[in-house]
Symmetry: C2
Amino acid sequence: MPEKAFQDYYPDQWSHCYGCGRLNEQGLQIKSYWDEETGETYSIYHPRPHHIAIPGYVYGGLIASLVDCHGTGSAAAAAYQAAGRRMDDGGPPIRFVTGSLHIDYLKPTPLGPALDLRGVIREVKGRKVIVDITLSVEGEITARGEVVAVQVPDHWSLITGEKEQDELR
Amino acid sequence: MPEKAFQDYYPDQWSHCYGCGRLNEQGLQIKSYWDEETGETYSIYHPRPHHIAIPGYVYGGLIASLVDCHGTGSAAAAAYQAAGRRMDDGGPPIRFVTGSLHIDYLKPTPLGPALDLRGVIREVKGRKVIVDITLSVEGEITARGEVVAVQVPDHWSLITGEKEQDELR
């Protein structure tokens, strides 16, 4: 596993996210990486006992959260790649928010083993990136997700004014 | 607000859910009710400071979780209603799991005020219920969701064997 995840390159003001922020101590701290062999992205998450739906199975909202943050993280990594940039090049940060999220729950996801997320970058077009994601447990796919991620304006800073919000709408 | 929420009628073995289980102390404890005037369902949730995306805004995975559990709860209430039953009639429990979940994030959701979810039962057909959900903050809709909920087999008990799992696939 590489030393730093996509999310570890986010600037501090983007690192409070409950799903993937390294500065959110109560959050899920989702970490995503490139699989250099396949060109896919991946993330491995170990659910906690309270992440339960019915006894024995993972809560669907946790799955949605994992897909969401793995999706926006993958979108950022893909956008850097498309721009010929490295995530640690010190240039203006490229960050994405979720425009839409879709999950198909194919079967119950057993609670206990690690959850394996794989992301395929389907499309990078302008400021939009679409990522297809599967969630597997011990080799069996239990859910499929799609994230349509939208790049935030370059000047969308920590102190977000009404004008800047409008640009995200 | 009525005394008991839809989720408070769930049998104990269905009440551990991280999103809406009354027995999950670390969970979100989402509560859903009928609005008798409009025939819609509603839920009000007060996000905590760590439910953050970027500073000032609500985490999208929390929104997905709220839509998910408000959707399956609304589906259960609608199925009881369609069957001419009361949720507290002591008969076989009617419970739903999420088949698919879709969220459109229309604009950033401010973190602080209460989140208002409204559900409209679009379709009750066989063992499937489709619920359309809006999430608003102080009267402004910031996200729209759709939950396709699937009723679990009557005998799908606490101890779920491989055979019963197959029926959910």
